[in-house]
């Protein structure tokens, strides 16, 4: 029995949890559902001891529960199965499943591994989850992703956890493995274990869970039995927020000529089939759940991830399958990464370098940088996007997230890209910066650029896009004019209804 009351957690200015009250009963599968960014993963991390809440209390079987670390949570019988796998790729299945609990021979201060007991114990656990690829001796690094997920789950079973937290365990599993996973979850449930299950897929939630709690904007807004509630009601709870008036006037209707044509792009494992037709002046939104393959699609168009098949044409010219990102950049394609710190900006370099680096020839002569030109051109962008900065020479690191994001966008504008691939352009930034970025995007389109905008935030897609396509499990639906969509139909397409 795990009960949460009044849990709050903020990261800087962002409120991740804003009052969560839930009771999880023993022997139940409890689904946590909500949109991306609703606070589900934060909540699991708080329960698993990876994050400390700012306010609120947790109780396990009536006793106060405030784990100081993941290890403490583990000792209290709480196991988190991560979305990102945390396995040792070089070790065997048995060694991974029993890590930290290795059976040892009693002699010599438990120095020698009891390999027989290890094999036996691992085999016993594996038996409950018969999977063709799983043998105790198999090295984890050689397993398919789905089988690795199973190893991770078995690790929680081996630790005899009484509360198992699963963060989208099926996002990378094929259907037959989902069936096996559900059989295992039912077995856990039957033995009195509480399973907290995060998933976006409502049909899956209905298949496995008994009760649900909807999180929205960090708050628990609804809870109850799954039988007796319709998907429409659940979706309304998940979506139910007003569209703010923070969007600029829509860009003029797109021209007829096609800028980019992507045909049957396949980039396994994330992208199974995606086709895009982008016209001059068009803003095309791509909605979908985290992990549905949206990011991978734009990365494949940019040449950052290898495509297996399919065709990408820019200005009618076909880009070779192995043409590198720099060739695509030269063809006029610009890419804004969702991972601003990791690959979007060089945080240690100056704003001037960050903005001008994709087109250094504009500020250099025979390879020599002209500092003055670099400074002047940077200032133009700082003003145009209202970037709050002291000097073009200050490191990008010293700006706030919103201003950093504007610098990243300024680079694409300076690059004179006429195809903008924007992946979560307003992720994790303040409202004021969002408004500037929407305005810049709409201006670009008005000047004749084509924009592909990937976003998890539906209101902004509805606010600025001309048309919208939805990604679901690696497949992109055909784009339709934005007026033909509603938040509910987008959600239904995203969860594969």
């Amino acid at each position: 029995m795990l009960s949460l009351s009044g849990l709050r957690k903020r990261f800087g200015a962002t409120v991740a949890l804003d009052g969560v009250d839930v009771e999880f009963a023993p022997g139940e599968v409890h689904a946590l559902i909500g949109e991306n960014g609703a606070g589900k993963s934060t909540l699991l991390n708080v329960i698993a001891g990876a994050l400390a809440p700012d306010a609120g209390t947790m109780r396990v079987n009536g006793e106060p529960y405030a784990p100081a670390s993941p290890l403490a949570a583990r000792h209290a019988g709480v196991a988190l199965i991560h979305q990102e796998l945390s396995l040792c790729a070089h070790l065997t299945v048995a060694e991974n499943v029993l890590m930290g609990l290795e059976p040892a021979r009693p002699a010599w201060g438990r120095f020698w591994l009891d390999r027989k007991a290890m094999q036996r114990e691992a085999a016993r656990l594996l038996e409950s989850f018969s999977h063709p690829d799983l043998a105790p001796d198999r090295v984890v690094g050689t397993l398919p992703i789905a089988a690795r997920q199973v190893v991770e789950i078995l690790r929680a079973v081996a630790a005899r956890a009484s509360i198992v937290l699963m963060d989208e365990p099926t996002s990378s599993l094929p259907r037959e493995d989902v069936t096996r996973l559900f059989a295992l979850i039912r077995r856990l449930k039957a033995s009195g274990v509480t399973v907290v299950y995060i998933s976006h897929f409502l049909e899956e939630v209905r298949e496995i869970a008994d009760r649900y709690t909807v999180l929205r904007d960090g708050r628990s807004v609804a809870t109850g039995e799954l039988t007796g509630v319709t998907n429409e009601v659940l979706i309304a709870h998940m979506v139910g927020r007003p569209v703010d008036a923070l969007f600029p006037d829509r860009a003029p209707a797109p021209a007829e000529d096609v800028l980019v044509e992507v045909t049957d792009l396949v980039a396994p494992p994330a992208v199974r089939k995606a086709s895009i037709q982008l016209r001059r002046g068009e803003i095309l939104g791509v909605a979908g759940l985290v992990g549905s393959g949206r990011t991978e699609t734009v990365r494949a168009i940019m040449g950052l991830d290898p495509a297996e098949s399919g065709e990408v044409r820019v200005h009618g010219k076909r880009l070779g399958k192995s043409s590198p990102p720099r060739a695509r950049l030269a063809a006029g394609v610009g890419y804004l990464s969702e991972d601003r710190k990791g690959e979007g900006l060089a945080l240690g370099l100056s704003l001037a370098d960050n903005i001008t680096c994709t087109r250094y020839e504009s500020v250099s002569t025979h390879g020599w940088l002209r500092r003055r030109a670099q400074r002047d051109q940077t200032r133009v962008w700082l003003d145009a996007l209202a970037i709050k900065a002291r000097s073009p020479w200050q490191p990008a690191r010293t700006l706030s997230g919103g201003n950093q994001q504007k610098v990243a966008l300024a680079r694409l504008l300076h690059q004179k890209a006429d195809v903008l691939l924007l992946d979560e352009p307003t992720k994790g930034i303040d409202i004021g910066s969002k408004v500037e970025i929407y305005r810049a995007i709409v201006d670009c389109a008005a000047r004749g650029a084509g924009v592909v905008m990937v976003s998890s935030y539906l209101p902004e897609l509805f606010g600025v896009c001309h048309s919208l396509a939805v990604m679901c499990r690696g497949r992109l639906t055909p784009a339709r004019p934005i007026g033909e969509w509603t938040p509910e139909t987008v959600m239904e397409a995203a969860i594969g209804q």
Partner: protein, 328 residues
């Protein structure tokens, strides 16, 4: 759904991958035998004894280094530790102490240096590269201090016979140090594969966060790894002293690079999680045969340095290709 599993390769292909370092070693021996004017001399038992005796110091160090590299660490202080432990042993022998006590003190000093490395890495949170770079200086300075900036001569005892090319009694065939190295390599192979400690060394090198999350006391294990490896470097220092028949505080500069190279040529990955003692031994032999071969050919020292440098890069490049195929 597309799977990212490795297509199961044939048993032959797997053997070829495992045996790659051995094939490299045989290649080196073969090439020198073909080029040599007197191949029977190069391939003689006598020459083999010479090579083995020369390998002892690097081989013992490589046993300890394998553990460290498998755990995802590195130790740059090996050369200095060898000098320091050699000087400690020599000073005690000169002072008339029992050889066993002198040797034990030398080995223990190696362990102390290792534990200091482990403490700096785990408690001060200094990267292994930096922590051991610091110890490299500290241990070298301590050796010079202890030796009063001079070599320390030792009285003739059996310690001086540990790493000789032609041992007495002659039925030993090779130096006692060689037999000791072989025995310790076998013991440590078993420790790495059959003990809880050994598997945790691999777990930390493969994914330290995962190991910590599953309750492995990663700090304690790391201190143990560096401490235990230090004992091997200490033993290596005793062998070095034995070969020189004196404690020299300026000896073994750069030996850590030979030791690391041995582990890497033998299939160890500096990214952690991979490596075998047997491979490291083959790597140490490969370098010893290269040295010996170039000497026999009468080539200047710099040729030997160039060749070893190239071999190290090629060995790691081959490892990269192999890892890319295995998808690890």
């Amino acid at each position: 759904m597309a799977s990212d599993a490795v297509p199961s390769r044939s048993a032959l292909a797997r053997w070829l991958v495992t045996l790659a370092p051995v094939i490299g070693l045989l290649l080196v021996i073969g090439v020198f035998a073909l080029m040599s004017d007197a191949p029977d001399q190069y391939l003689s038992v006598r020459n083999l004894r010479i090579v083995l005796a020369q390998t002892v110091i690097v081989a013992l160090g490589a046993i300890g280094m394998t553990m460290i590299i498998v755990s995802g660490g590195i130790d740059l202080s090996v050369g200095s530790a060898i000098a320091l432990t050699g000087v400690v042993t020599a000073v005690l022998l000169r002072g008339g102490h029992d050889p066993l006590i002198a040797i034990a003190a030398g080995i223990a000093m190696g362990g102390v240096v290792g534990i200091l490395n482990g403490l700096a890495i785990t408690q001060l949170r200094v990267l292994p590269f930096i922590a051991t770079l610091g110890t490299l200086g500290v241990a070298r300075g301590a050796a010079k201090w202890l030796g009063d900036q001079q070599t320390v001569n030792v009285p003739p005892t059996w310690v001086n016979e540990l790493a000789v090319t032609f041992p007495t009694p002659s039925w030993l065939l090779v130096a006692p140090g060689v037999w000791l190295s072989i025995a310790l390599a076998m013991v440590m192979t078993v420790v790495l594969s059959r003990t809880v400690f050994g598997r945790r060394v691999f777990a930390i090198g493969s994914n330290e966060a995962a190991a910590r999350a599953t309750g492995v006391a990663t700090d304690r294990v790391k201190i143990a790894i560096y401490g235990l490896a230090g004992l091997f470097f200490g033993l290596s220092g005793v062998m070095q002293m034995s070969r020189l028949r004196q404690g020299d505080p300026t000896v073994a500069i750069g030996t850590e690079l030979d030791v690391i190279a041995a582990v890497v040529i033998g299939g160890g990955s500096l990214a952690g999680g991979e490596g075998t003692i047997a491979g490291a031994m083959v790597g140490a032999l490969t370098m010893a045969f290269l040295r010996n071969g170039t000497q026999q050919m009468g080539w200047p020292n710099y040729i030997q340095e160039i060749i070893i440098g190239i071999i190290i890069v090629l060995a790691v490049a081959a490892d990269r290709v192999r890892r890319a195929r295995a998808g690890v």
